[in-house]
């Protein structure tokens, strides 16, 4: 069972880590700073609730994750941005009228080796950034923060979980295409 360290030390001990974590999601220094501040203040207020079962850092990251979800929710415009037409267009590109693949998928030899390469992660990140913003948020919230269908719908103002799954399928398809074009064919020789 771990006890919390002195809160006056938290910024020095955890500030950089939380900031980096927030920056990976929000890409805006001012917003990331605000989120880090909100996280520490919430942690200060709620430190009686720390069970001691996880590490202090893990606990703080958990609070930050909730703040990040709220941030996504807050940064929505009032406009419905599901872009279902957009997702339908992509589908027409990839599949013919009888639902067959139009182009074949390349075989990726030993893809796990890519995970060890810094260059691969730059490509991966660029591919995520290329996604339409709503799709990128959806993908990141699902894969990195493990949100459920209902939570995703609430965070991103999607009307049904079915629509969320369809959009997620499109996001994954695009990512796959991007990684194939920019990494797995030509095996990291640039490809672009």
């Amino acid at each position: 069972m771990t006890a919390l360290s002195d809160p006056d030390n938290w910024v020095a001990a955890h500030g950089d880590y939380l900031y980096r974590y927030a920056m990976m999601r929000v890409r805006d220094p001012a917003v990331a700073e605000d989120l880090v501040q909100e996280t520490f203040l919430a942690a200060l207020k709620g430190r009686g609730n720390f069970s001691g079962k996880s590490s202090e850092k893990t606990w703080l990251v958990g609070i930050l994750k909730h703040k990040l979800i709220d941030q996504v929710y807050r940064s929505r415009s009032g406009v419905q941005v599901e872009n279902i037409e957009l997702t339908a267009d992509l589908s027409a590109e990839r599949f013919d009228e009888s639902g067959h693949w139009r182009a074949s998928l390349a075989e990726w030899s030993d893809p796990d080796r890519a995970l060890e390469k810094d260059e691969f992660w730059r490509v991966f990140e660029a591919c995520v950034e290329r996604l339409p913003p709503q799709m990128a948020r959806l993908f990141l919230l699902k894969e990195m923060d493990g949100l459920s269908g209902e939570e995703l719908c609430k965070a991103l103002d999607i009307s049904t979980t079915n629509n969320a799954w369809v959009m997620l399928s499109r996001a994954r398809m695009r990512l796959r295409d991007c990684l194939e074009a920019n990494w797995f064919t030509g095996q990291g020789n640039g490809g672009r």
Partner: protein
Amino acid sequence: MTSCKEASDLLSASLDTRLPVARRIGLRLHLLMCKMCSRYRQQLIFLRRAAAVYAARTAPLPDETSRLPADAAQRIAQQITASR
């Protein structure tokens, strides 16, 4: 009969939710017969693995964004002290 287009969406959904049994069977049968969709399935599973590793990494951000700016750090530390 499940088409490749349907299978691609079902494969993605199956990563996150339990498919209704009829869909699951249709998908499984399709995968037995379709090499391309089986390949897509492998690549989706890789994507998930990559995303998990990506989440765990603390790099790769350019240097100037990897540290909490000093003025922000000071301000926040003061806030914490003041709130106690």
